[in-house]
Amino acid sequence: MHNVNCGTLSRPLSRFRGRGLIGVLVGLVGLLTSVALSRTAQAQEMPVATAPAESPAAPAAQTRWQLGLAFVPMGLGKFTSSYGTKLITADAAFCPGISLSASYRVIEGLTVGLAPQLLFKVAPKEDPTEQGMPVTNWRELDAMVRIAYAYQLVETIAVYAEVLPGYSFMKPDRGDPSLGFVIAGGAGLMMDMSDRLFVNLAGGYQVGFQSRTDSAGMTTDTRARYVRTVLGVGYRF
């Protein structure tokens, strides 16, 4: 199997010319397959380890900055708003969001940075007035500061806690925006994929204190609070 596919590897790519796109694709698949198989074959020729060897500890990267990108799905939450003269709190709809972060390591384990996040569908599940009115969807932009402390459990694995205070800007499909403070907090696991690349998984809670002032000068609350889930990837440099 190994030798057969080595033949494919040795063919010059120019032979794919004139075969069209399908030919090139077939060639690429064959190339990838043969590379993968040859790696497998090489692995088989190596002695079988009877016990997993301890890998050498990855050298601690002397890095100060880290960038992160996270998917922030908010599955469980409450949405509060004024409907006429009534302030109603209702179950919030599933709300997907994304978060960016840039942090600086102040001391070992402690990082401080900025972490803006954007939530795409801040709304109740259904019309809370039960009048059959269409539900208004809001977008929420949270400009937050991120303070996190990570504790290295073992090499490549750390637990961390984070607090994210900030200011929030909620914009409905149409109408006046709602503004106010927001704070989020949580805890999670961080897993190193290399000495610089890592992924993180966290859970927490977010509370908003937004309110809006309409054209008549009346101020009412329109705010959301969520159980916050974070699925992220980051890079240190």
Binding site: M1, T33, A36, L37, T40, A43, Q44, V48, A49, T50, A51, P52, A53, E54, S55, P73, G75, L76, D91, F94, K125, E126, E130, L153, V154, E155, T156, I157, L189, M191, D192, M193, V199, L201, G203, T229, L231
Partner: protein, 495 residues
């Protein structure tokens, strides 16, 4: 002076060696070769074709042993060879009891990220792989198994809130469930290639809200016999699962509420379809039979059959599946068919289900694996009078994907997993004035898993599910939704 001294030393050494050999033989006569058990059940990658470093010694079978011989006058000009008659087989046959070693879990090509969800499936490979490495006959009783304990919380939140019929679905569960099984695999290796194997999985159950063990007492998962040639073909009969096509990842585990999704007690039934009508162990007095064929190291086929009594009626079915496994890429596809009739001869009940499904999976060691699945199945339901039941005749479609990320650390393995699954069900009821019933169900999760000493798994899964129902029989149709949030902590022990 030197000659007597040398002679004495030689005699002393000879007697020591002889006594040592005698002790070894004596021990071997009375004790079966111990199984090499330092390796954990969750094995390191071991090529199936490779000879393991610590293969168990073959257990001699008395009836097949050659007649003993004795040579008198060896080394002289006239040696005499005496052949003794074969003795009667021992009344007690020596049996090796062996905790399944690492090589029993074949991984000729990678199965997936170590300790990940793909790695815990076998992609059609013959396992437990227990050949005779010496080429002689060998009988070994393999022992293995696993157990898990779940503590899970689920909360259902149906809406609209003004629908009084949904009140019964406004519920929450907090349950601990458990399941542990001991897998006993007697294997008779005829020679290096051919084998006869049985397997029974003895199950202990802790309230999994499933019917089979509701009566309490003994339960089994696998219960089968198999014979064949390693890595070439085999026949299998009994109670066992068909090869997996649709892979769900690190969440939505079997026997969990999370797997059922946002389907409350009062909701119409909807569940994911993953070429799974004939995949799982059949209920009742029915069983499977299968022919497995391995023409190439990377290509495997299963022709699964089902026959017996299912839901108070005779049933038969089939489920052929093919797996192309390049290690880093796995492509699985299959179809299935099942017909269920009523045991009363005059009853015209005829429930026919058909389906097709496929999965594409990628493994990039040691950090990433992911996959996509799709399947569609139909049920055509005719009642006892020969009339079509359009509301019970449905088309089910599921698509899903998963991704696992591991730190790849050999001792401190941590894996994050995510997955999503979407299912649509639509009935065959376009008869005026009834509208077609349409349901959909979304299931998603995130998971984190840490492994201790390669055998103890700690997994935390957070799940979200939402369903939508549009019901026939009413005009305007009744529409409502249900949601479920769940958190589950599972401890598993693989041995």
């Amino acid at each position: 002076m030197r000659t007597p001294l040398l002679t004495s030393l030689i005699l002393l050494a000879s007697s020591t060696l002889a006594s040592a050999a005698t002790r070894t033989v004596a021990q071997a006569d009375h004790e079966p070769a111990p199984a090499p058990t330092p390796t954990p059940a969750a094995p390191p990658p071991t090529p199936a074709s490779a000879v393991p470093p610590a293969a168990p010694a073959p257990i001699p079978v008395p009836a097949a042993s050659a007649p003993a011989t004795e040579v008198i006058g060896a080394g002289t000009a006239t040696p005499v060879v005496i052949e003794r008659a074969s003795t009667e087989p021992a009344s007690i046959t020596e049996v090796g009891v062996q905790r399944l070693p690492a090589y029993a879990y074949p991984e000729d090509l990678t199965r997936g990220l170590k300790h990940g969800s793909l790695w815990l499936t076998f992609h059609g490979l013959q396992w437990p792989y227990m050949p005779s490495f010496s080429g002689g006959k060998r009988f070994v009783m393999g022992l293995s198994g696993w157990g898990w304990i779940d503590n899970a919380y689920q909360k259902f939140a149906p809406f609209p809130i003004d629908n009084p019929h949904l009140e019964e679905n406004r519920i929450r569960y907090w349950k601990q469930q458990a399941r542990m099984l001991l897998r006993v695999t007697p294997t008779y290796a005829i020679d290096r290639d051919y084998f006869i194997q049985g397997q029974v999985e003895l199950v202990g159950t802790g309230d999994q809200s499933i019917q089979r063990s509701a009566v309490g007492g003994a339960d089994t998962d696998d219960l089968y016999l198999r014979l064949g040639k390693w890595n070439r073909w085999d026949f299998q009969f009994g109670r066992f699962e068909g090869w997996e096509v649709f892979h769900l990842g690190m969440g939505l585990d079997f026997n969990t509420f999370e797997r059922l999704g946002a389907v409350g007690p009062g909701d119409p039934q909807i569940g994911y379809y993953g070429l799974s009508d004939n995949q799982f162990r059949p209920p009742g007095a029915s069983g499977n039979f299968a022919f497995h064929y391995y023409p190439l190291r990377i290509l495997r086929f299963e022709l699964l059959g089902l026959a017996g009594n299912v839901s108070n009626g005779p049933a038969y079915g089939t489920r052929p599946v093919a797996i192309l496994d390049l290690g880093w890429l796995k492509f699985k596809a299959g179809v299935e068919y099942r017909k269920l009739i009523n045991q009363q001869l005059s009853n015209q009940t005829d429930v026919t289900s058909k389906g097709v499904g496929a999965a594409l999976q990628f493994v990039f060691l040691p950090h990433l694996e992911f996959g996509l699945n799709a399947a569609q199945g139909t049920i055509w339901n005719i009642d006892g009078n020969g009339n079509l039941l359009p509301e019970a005749s449905v088309t089910r479609t599921s698509v899903g994907g998963f991704a696992n990320v591991s730190n790849g650390h050999p001792r401190h393995t941590l894996i994050f997993g995510v997955g999503s699954l979407m299912t649509w069900t639509e009935d065959q009821n376009p008869i005026t004035p009834n509208p077609v019933d349409k349901y959909w169900l979304y299931q998603g999760y995130v998971a984190a898993q840490y492994v201790i000493h390669n055998v103890f798994y700690i997994k935390l899964v957070a799940g979200y599910s939402r369903s939508h129902f549009a019901l026939a029989g009413n005009e305007p149709r009744v529409e409502f939704d249900d949601e479920m949030y769940s958190a589950r902590l599972r401890f598993s022990f693989y041995f």
